[in-house]
Symmetry: C2
Subunit: 110 residues, 2 copies
DNA sequence: ACTTCATTTGGTCTTTTTGCCAAATTACAA
DNA sequence: TTGTAATTTGGCAAAAAGACCAAATGAAGT
C-alpha cells in the first residue's frame, strides 16, 4: 500500500476513534450495548444536560456507530453494530492482556 | 459494577482513544509497529513540522503507548506493546467484519 | 387549536487541541 | 570549546470540541 493510501486509512480510523474518544460517549456506547435506550434514559444515566447528550448522540450517529428510531415522542438509540463493543473491550483485553502478571502492557487499569 | 466505576473505566478508555484519535498519531503508531524509527524518519514519513511530530510523540509516550531510547544524537521510538496495533486493526476487522458482503457495519472503508 | 413532554438546534462562551516558529537542550565530532 | 545535527520545549494564534441556555421542532393527548 502506498503512503497516501495509508494516510487516508489513518484518517478514517482516527475519525472513528475521535467519535469514541470522550468519557460520556464511550459510556453511552457501553450502555447501549446492553439495550436500546431513549435520550432521556441516557441523560439520566450519564448525568449531563439533555442537549449535551443529544449532541453526543448525533455525533455517534453521524459516524454510523448508532442508529435511532422514534417511538411516539421518545427517540431510542441503539448500536448499529454491536461488535463496536468488542472493539472497545479490545482496549482492555489486548492492551493489558495480563493485568495481574506484571506485564509491560497496562494502559487501562480495571 | 456500579455506575461510578463504569464511568471511571469509560474515562480510562477515552484517554487512550483520545491519544490515538489523530490521523498523524495513528499513522505513526502503524509505522512504528513495523520497526522502530527516529523522530527525523517519522517526520519525513508523515510530512509535518518536526516540533509537531515531537509533540505528538510525547503525547503517545505519556499515555504509555510508546517508549524511546536515545542512540547518539537521534531518539528512537517504538511501541511498548505491539498489540496496540491489533487494537487499531480491530477497528477494521471488527467494525466492518464483512466489507464485501454489503453488511450494515461499514465504518472504515479500506 | 392548545398543551405538554421529549428531543434537537442555534447561539455563545470556555476549554482543549493543533501547528508552527524560535529558542533551548543533548550528543558528538572537529 | 566550538560547531553542527537531532530533538525538545515555550509561546502564541488559529481551529476544534464541549457545555449550557434558550428557542424551535415533533408527536401525542385534550
Amino acid at each position: 500500500m502506498n503512503i497516501e493510501k495509508e494516510k487516508d486509512l489513518a484518517s478514517s480510523r482516527a475519525r472513528i476513534m475521535k467519535a469514541l474518544a470522550h468519557p460520556t460517549r464511550i459510556f453511552m456506547v457501553e450502555l447501549l450495548s446492553r439495550k436500546e435506550m431513549s435520550v432521556g434514559e441516557l441523560t439520566a444515566a450519564v448525568g449531563a444536560d439533555v442537549s449535551t447528550v443529544s449532541k453526543h448522540l448525533s455525533l455517534l450517529k453521524q459516524e454510523k456507530i448508532l442508529s435511532h428510531t422514534r417511538d411516539g415522542k421518545t427517540v431510542n438509540y441503539s448500536l448499529i453494530c454491536p461488535c463496536i463493543l468488542e472493539f472497545i473491550h479490545c482496549l482492555d483485553e489486548v492492551i493489558s492482556p495480563d493485568a495481574g502478571k506484571g506485564s509491560s502492557c497496562s494502559l487501562v487499569r480495571k
